[in-house]
């Protein structure tokens, strides 16, 4: 469009933007420019006018327009471009040939336009681009392709599409907002602890839409409920976002009204259990009353509405005095498990059995989401009174869960995550399914669809940094600069978990 920009003009512009602009050439001054631009729009007509006077019709320097629109260089430029589209005004030159003297000659004609322009600029707000982002009107989209520099930061890092069912390739790398009320019902357990802290600090829950989750969503949307449940395994190195991808999937399924069977961390069931009871149902197995009752409570919070609809199809006897009849609702089983903690494990077993049996009837779709599924086939740190170790299958909860994860039922899907973080007796660097599951686990889960969750690509990294900047999470002055960002990229290597930890203290 324009020729090569004049060096002095570019310098002027950088100096012009106030104390926050660094002369070191960093154009990534989104935060700094935001409030300044708003102030400009709200009626400092003098400064806006002079700024526009200096570069009438000049578009953003092509040298500064590199990949990705992250230069929210402001509303003054948007206004300019809109003026260009309406047609060049008298005395305005596009680009490189303007000299100071010409500006002052055409001041009179320009000022009229400028005052009109400023009032237009006033109407634009950062949210404007947010709303435009998903609809992408043709003219603006065409301009956005050419001059990406004036996209507001919110348009890059956040999307207004809050329904996971409508997430597509174009939303990749963008954050979407989850309502906090939903978070309490869908995720009473299961969020990573650092993410929960972040949610509490920011007062909002935003998840990034990433490729593995999009792939899984695509598969889930095309599930054939007549076929046996397909098993999907999310695997990857530590801190890459497997658990949060699982949370994305769970949110999608909850919105689609599936029944969510979410085991937040299977590793918690195979270690550090103070009270192990011998199971009343099967003498060889062990009960874990506390873990089971906690899980039942959370299960009830998530799936309140299904508990009354589903009726059990068999009579179960708890002990000599208590039993539960055929035809009573699943809610009663869950209540029994919560109140009588001794029977909690058996209640869990009943719930799993009934859900498996009835999922093929078509009343509901069942999502089995297990985080840390390699715990089911690993070692435990639990011991009997005579200090001999307990194998995983001797725990009733694990035994029942193994049956749930087998693909001999239909009417739903099974999504699992491998995790080295809580695992026992596994090397730190292990992340592949074969390494973490072992032979037994791999054979039990075979066949499954493996989905690799990797580190951030440059676009996602940029989006993450933008999100932190918007929420003012990155407070260090150097974190806003290009140097700072390069350093963060280097230190974290694009690993989401590491990046989060780094940004926490910056």
């Amino acid at each position: 469009m324009t020729g090569a920009p004049r060096q002095p003009r570019a310098e002027e512009r950088r100096n012009d933007l106030g104390p926050k602009a660094s002369p070191g050439g960093s154009t990534h001054r989104v935060r700094g420019r935001g409030p300044a631009m708003r102030v400009q729009g709200s009626g400092e007509e003098g400064t806006a006018a002079t700024r526009l006077l200096r570069f009438p019709g000049s578009t953003a320097d092509p040298s500064r327009l590199s990949r990705g629109g992250r230069r929210g260089s402001g509303l003054a430029e948007t206004g300019e471009r809109r003026r260009e589209r309406r047609g060049a005004k008298a005395g305005e030159t596009k680009g490189s040939s303007g000299r100071p003297f010409h500006f002052f000659k055409s001041v009179g004609t320009m000022l009229k336009g400028v005052t009109r322009l400023v009032s237009r600029v006033h109407k634009l707000d950062p949210g404007h681009f947010l709303r435009l982002g998903t609809q992408a009107p043709q003219s603006l989209a065409a301009h956005l392709d050419n001059q990406v520099s004036f996209e507001s930061p919110r348009a890059i890092s956040c999307t207004s599409e809050n329904d996971p069912a409508k997430h597509e390739e174009k939303h990749e790398g963008q954050h979407y907002n989850l309502p906090l009320q939903d978070m309490k019902t869908i995720f009473p357990h299961g969020l990573p602890p650092r993410y929960a802290m972040q949610m509490k600090t920011f007062n909002e829950a935003c998840l990034m839409v990433r490729k593995p989750a999009l792939e899984l969503l695509h598969y889930l949307k095309n599930t054939n409920f007549a076929h046996p449940a397909v098993r999907y395994v999310l695997y990857g190195e530590k801190g890459t976002g497997k658990t949060l991808s699982l949370c994305h999937i769970i949110h999608f399924c909850a919105k689609q009204d599936w029944l969510i069977l979410h085991i937040p961390d299977a590793h918690l069931w195979v270690k550090d259990c103070r009270d192990l009871l011998q199971s009343s149902y099967n003498k060889q197995r062990f009960d874990q009353p506390l873990e089971a009752s906690v899980w039942l409570k959370n299960f009830k919070t998530t799936n309140e509405r299904f508990l009354n609809q589903i009726k059990i199809q068999e009579k179960y006897v708890w002990n000599k005095r208590e039993s539960i009849e055929k035809g009573s609702s699943l809610g009663e089983v869950v209540e029994q498990g919560i109140t009588r903690v001794r029977n909690a494990t058996d209640a869990v077993g009943i719930v799993l059995k009934e859900l498996k049996r009835q999922s093929s009837l078509g009343i509901f779709h069942l999502l089995v989401a297990v985080d840390g599924v390699n715990a089911l086939w690993g070692r435990t740190t639990l011991k009997r009174e005579d200090k001999s170790p307990i194998a995983a299958e001797e725990l009733a909860l694990i035994h029942n869960l193994r049956k749930m994860v087998k693909n001999d039922w239909n009417g739903g899907a099974i999504v699992m995550t491998l995790s080295q973080t809580g695992s026992l007796f596994k090397p730190r660097k292990a992340y592949l399914p074969q390494e973490l599951l072992g032979k037994e686990g791999f054979d039990a889960l075979d066949p499954f669809i493996p989905i690799l969750v990797g580190n951030y690509n440059p676009k996602e990294f940029e989006s993450c940094i933008q999100y932190y900047l918007e929420n003012s999470w990155l407070q260090h002055e150097k974190a806003h600069t290009e140097e700072g960002k390069k350093e963060l990229l280097f230190l974290s290597n694009g690993n989401p978990g590491q990046l989060e930890r780094l940004c926490a203290y910056l």
Partner: protein, 242 residues
């Protein structure tokens, strides 16, 4: 750090030669730490911008400096000093003072957790406040840290001076370095000794830093006590001979 006491503190990149023969013999300064390096060794220049400046932009002095550095031996840089943009000499000094038994990993993680705790507390306050108050709430943990330590620095100190067989606490001016040291020392001691055994250091330290930032809390009180003592012993000021 094995360096003569007369050298400038806190990793400032001054280039004065640390020639031992030029050390001034003050009564207040005795050289207690000796350097393994002989005097002609120069300090390493860690600043990235210094090295990135193109040759054409240097002044004559700077060009001379660069040429000189090529011929002179340079000391090894400390492993804790990085050329990171996020590096802060005050934070590094504080971390070193918190360190026990050489466990820098633990000290650094405590420091980062403290900064994170300060940030989260301030964010919580920010979201709870009305829009007028939000402008006054400082959320940058580094500014809070620096301001808090500045608020804890005493202006005047006390020195025990032996006169006539008795030790008197005499008010004495403190150098910048001593003041910074005292502020950090008091902060760390306060957190270690005066708090409940089971509270974790980041929690204690973040609370103390926030209190000191607002000029409240036990560390600032200790500074005020020091000032009051110095004021009370004003008459003894003549015992000082330097």
């Amino acid at each position: 750090m094995a360096a003569p006491l007369v050298k400038a503190v806190l990793g400032s990149s001054d280039l004065t030669l640390s020639v031992r023969s030029a050390v001034l013999r003050f009564p207040g300064f005795t050289q207690v730490r000796w350097s393994r390096y002989s005097p002609e060794f120069r300090d390493p220049q860690i600043d990235k911008d210094y090295h990135r400046k193109p040759w054409a932009e240097l002044t004559e002095e700077e060009k001379f400096e660069r040429e000189l550095r090529k011929t002179q031996p340079i000391k090894a840089a400390r492993s804790a000093n990085t050329s990171s943009v996020f590096e802060d000499p005050v934070i590094s000094k504080f971390t070193n003072m918190m360190m026990k038994g050489g466990n820098k990993v633990l000290a650094r993680s405590l420091m980062t957790q403290t900064l994170e705790a300060v940030k989260r507390k301030q964010f919580k306050k920010f979201h709870a406040a009305s829009s007028e108050e939000q402008a006054t709430i400082e959320r940058n943990p580094y500014t809070i840290f620096h301001q808090a330590l500045k608020n804890c620095e005493p202006v005047i100190g006390l020195a025990p001076i032996l006169k006539g067989g008795r030790f008197y606490q005499v008010p004495v001016p403190l150098s910048d370095r001593r003041r910074r040291f005292l502020a950090m020392k008091w902060m760390i001691t306060e957190c270690r000794e005066k708090k409940h055994r089971r509270t974790l250091m980041p929690e204690k330290l973040s609370q103390e830093l926030l209190q000191a930032f607002h000029n409240q809390g036990p560390v600032v009180k200790r500074k005020h006590d020091m000032h009051k003592m110095a004021e009370a012993n004003r008459a003894l000021a003549h015992y000082r001979w330097w």
